[in-house]
């Protein structure tokens, strides 16, 4: 295995949690709900996945419980919003802090315990194909699902009628309601599905990328994921490009550590100003409907925020 191939495999593997989280949040926001608890959800589900796996000795039960917790948190955020009309962003933010503190409280006993991790599923012969082999036929189930999820979620959102309905609820709930779509039902179902994906992302952290548990285990990736959703223009494919781009910069900084000491210290910082820059570009492109960009670039960076994103929906007013 040459070093380039190894690098690609590393990037794909370490990007898996962010792929789950970003696609989960993309689906959530497409239906008009902001799940701002991302960072907190990732932390608590990373801990849950790891702890349950140690207790039950079953990786799959660990992943399942993370998924359930992720879905449950999303459910609570939407429920509070529909029941008490409290702003989703406020509730999400409080959840972030609450779950972060909770994870460090509950996780005390698990710090730096050597833990279980997912085994690779190797398919003979096919796994020998350069690049594709190790990624698709010699990888663990979480990384594999993260890759499959990208085209699948895109197809669901943009090529199925259910996907159009879901986006309709996020764009204009009043019009969606007039067409007989239940805004409440859609928001509950797809926020919970999004939350489940974020939960799986958390489990992927502790069982696949950074084995085990430590305080603040997810490296603030939750906040990065929220930004990448915007960078991706609420499109799973473009968002995934953002995730892998972020991964490339991270890995590059690790690789270059031994080559040039000064540069390697700057490289990990690069994604953040770069992200602000792209967000500014996207925002200005949206403002002018992208008129001053050449067409290919416009298609690449033009993305519309769901019109009712984060806005409380109240029927009968």
């Amino acid at each position: 295995m040459d070093s380039l191939e190894l690098t690609v495999i590393t990037i794909v593997a370490m990007s898996a949690p962010l792929i789950f989280a970003v696609i989960g949040e993309t689906i959530t926001e497409r239906v008009g709900v902001v799940n701002l608890s991302m960072e907190g959800t990732l932390l608590i589900t990373a801990l849950t996945g790891f702890a349950i796996t140690i207790w039950t000795d079953s990786l799959y039960l660990g992943i399942l419980s993370s998924a359930l917790i992720g879905g449950f948190i999303a459910f609570i955020i939407v429920w509070i919003n529909f029941r008490f009309y409290i702003n989703q962003i406020a509730v999400g933010f409080i959840f972030t802090i609450f779950l972060w503190k909770l994870s460090s409280y509950l996780g005390g006993d698990f710090v730096r315990i050597p833990g279980p991790y997912l085994n690779k599923i190797t398919i003979p012969i096919l796994s020998e194909i350069p690049f594709l082999g190790p990624i698709f036929f010699d990888n663990n189930i979480l990384v594999l699902s993260s890759i499959i999820l990208i085209p699948l979620s895109w197809f669901f959102l943009f090529r199925t009628n259910l996907g159009v309905n879901l986006r309709a609820v996020g764009e204009n709930p009043i019009a969606a309601d007039a067409r007989g779509l239940s805004v409440m039902k859609y928001r509950f179902i797809y926020s919970v599905i999004g939350g489940i994906l974020i939960g799986i992302g958390g489990a992927t952290f502790s069982l696949e990328v950074k084995y085990g548990w430590s305080e603040g285990h997810t490296l603030n990736y939750g906040w990065i994921a929220l930004a990448i959703v915007i960078f991706g223009g609420w499109n799973p494919v473009r968002a995934s490009v953002g995730v892998y781009g972020f991964g490339i910069l991270q890995v590059l900084s690790l690789k270059l550590q031994s080559v040039t000491i000064g540069l390697s210290q700057i490289l990990p910082l690069i994604p953040f100003p770069l992200m602000i820059l792209t967000l500014v570009l996207i925002q200005s492109a949206n403002k002018n409907e992208g008129r001053w960009f050449p067409k290919p670039i416009r298609l690449l960076i033009f993305g519309n925020q769901p019109q009712s994103l984060g806005i409380t929906y109240k029927k009968d007013s």
């Binding site: 199925t160 009628n161 159009v164 309709a168 764009e171 019009a175 067409r179 779509l181 019109q307």
Partner: protein, 472 residues
């Protein structure tokens, strides 16, 4: 199918929108519902379409009672609504907007199939549409037409139109009316909510009049329009446009620069002129009016000696009252404080006095503590007029009477004309040609974001203006 409303009541807080309304609509007819602003028309049809749950009462379709407050029930029973503003999705493509909530589509979207369906249906309207274009790039009329096509495709048998025609061009309106007549002859029931009496007389069989949330009467048509107006507003109401024009005292010249919209660089007029900008929805006439306020590089107003009217003396009254004109959650008193208080601290007792007197002068139905969002459209417009300060020299009005009934519209114009002598210039846009001819001295015609004709009112024949704004 016969529709029977029985004792429908609905109130929002202290406002009674509908009070024990009972009447029926015959199957296969075109039935109008009319009334002043705030008479409860929109509430009543939103109850029928399931968007609002009434406090009391029932609706029967044929012999069956309908489950109320559920849009799913309403759409299943074949009730389709064409809203005041198109109920669609501006960021979607035509195809996506057509498909949202569509129960007849397969799970995976078949683009070619729906391309064909949309084109077959649009042919009935002599209309062509690219399914890939974005909804926000269409005119309001086109969006309403797409909605109508969608309802028909989904098999709606009862079609509600809630003042939809303000967005239609003259040709579109003719086609839509033709189709509505055709549909009713095939057994479809059409309900038209409107306050345009000429429209109702043109196509409806029956008319139900609502007044202050109560049913007044259901009449067979045709009927003398005078009787209908008297019934709507009471016989004492004065709906004739007999305002008094105030003579111009000064004859100073004033110039408006318009080279961005026209080959002509500028127009010079007498001070005190009212300019009417005529154009259909989406023609750019609203943007033109707005540009005098927010794009001073392209549109300017100045005196002979090149002195521009300062920004502080320009007032822009947007047609989107709640979005651009007012703060929905703020009270009338707070609006007055914002407009009139120039000191650092607010003397609330003075503001309260001022608010009370302005509420009185402008006949706003509301208290100083009423939030702007709880005012009806007509009262919102009155509040916006109350916020115009004395020293304003350039007044910009975008569709000043959009969605207002006749009596509110007349009030708006009367109070505008009263203060006209103090203003150097009034520029307003309107889709209503009557309004343009009734109130302006100088007419500018807009089509496709360009000025296509302009001139003093007496030089501009009505037929010519109509042609120009339709792009002929």
């Amino acid at each position: 199918m016969k529709i029977e409303f029985k004792n429908i009541s609905k109130s929002f807080g202290e406002t009674i929108a509908n009070s024990e309304i009972s009447f029926s609509i015959d199957g296969g007819s075109i039935h109008a519902i009319i009334g002043e602003n705030g008479a409860g028309k929109s509430t009543l049809i939103k109850i029928l379409s399931g968007q609002i749950l009434p406090d009391d009462g029932s609706i029967k379709l044929g012999n069956k009672k309908m489950l109320l407050g559920s849009t799913i029930e309403a759409t299943n029973k074949g009730i389709g609504i064409l809203g005041q503003d198109p109920l669609d999705f501006s960021n979607f493509t035509v195809l996506e907007s057509f498909l949202a909530g569509n129960k007849k589509s397969s799970k995976i979207i078949s683009k070619s199939k729906f391309e064909e369906i949309i084109s077959t249906f649009s042919k009935k309207f002599d209309w062509e549409i690219n399914v890939n274009s974005l909804i926000k790039d269409l005119s309001v009329g086109q969006r309403q037409q797409l909605e109508l096509i969608r309802l028909l495709y989904l098999g709606a048998k009862i079609i509600i139109l809630d003042e939809p025609t303000s967005g239609f061009s003259l040709d579109q309106k003719k086609k839509v009316f033709e189709n509505l007549r055709d549909l009713s002859s095939k057994g479809y029931t059409v309900i038209l909510v409107s306050h345009k009496i000429e429209e109702i007389l043109e196509i409806c069989n029956k008319v139900t009049i609502l007044q202050k949330g109560k049913l007044l009467e259901t009449l067979d048509l045709p009927i003398n329009p005078k009787i209908l107006i008297d019934k709507m507003f009471g016989p004492s109401s004065n709906v004739k446009n007999d305002y008094k024009k105030i003579e111009k005292k000064s004859k100073k010249n004033i110039t408006i620069k318009i080279d961005k919209y026209s080959d002509i660089e500028k127009i010079t007029l007498n001070e005190g002129t009212i300019i009417g900008v005529s154009g259909l929805q989406g023609s750019g006439s609203d943007k033109f009016v707005q540009s005098f306020y927010d794009d001073l590089s392209s549109s300017k107003v100045y005196y002979e000696n090149e002195v521009q009217i300062p920004f502080s003396e320009i007032n822009y009254v947007a047609s989107d009252r709640l979005e651009k004109g007012l703060f929905p959650d703020m009270t009338i008193m707070e609006h007055i404080a914002l407009a009139y208080n120039s000191k650092g601290l607010i003397n609330w007792s003075n503001i309260l006095e001022l608010t009370k007197s302005l509420i009185n002068t402008y006949g706003i139905v509301g208290t100083p503590q009423t939030q702007a969002k709880n005012l009806s459209g007509g009262n919102q417009q009155r509040l916006m007029l109350a916020l115009i300060k004395e020293n304003i020299r350039l007044l910009l009005l975008e569709q000043p009477t959009r969605g207002l009934d006749i009596s509110s519209a007349i009030f708006v114009w009367e109070s505008l004309l009263k203060t006209k002598s103090k203003k150097n210039l009034v520029i307003f846009s309107s889709v209503d040609l009557y309004e343009i001819y009734d109130y302006s001295d100088f007419i500018i015609c807009f089509y496709d974001n360009k000025i296509v004709a302009s001139g003093h009112k007496n030089e501009m024949a009505r037929a010519k203006v109509m042609e120009k704004i339709s792009g002929k």
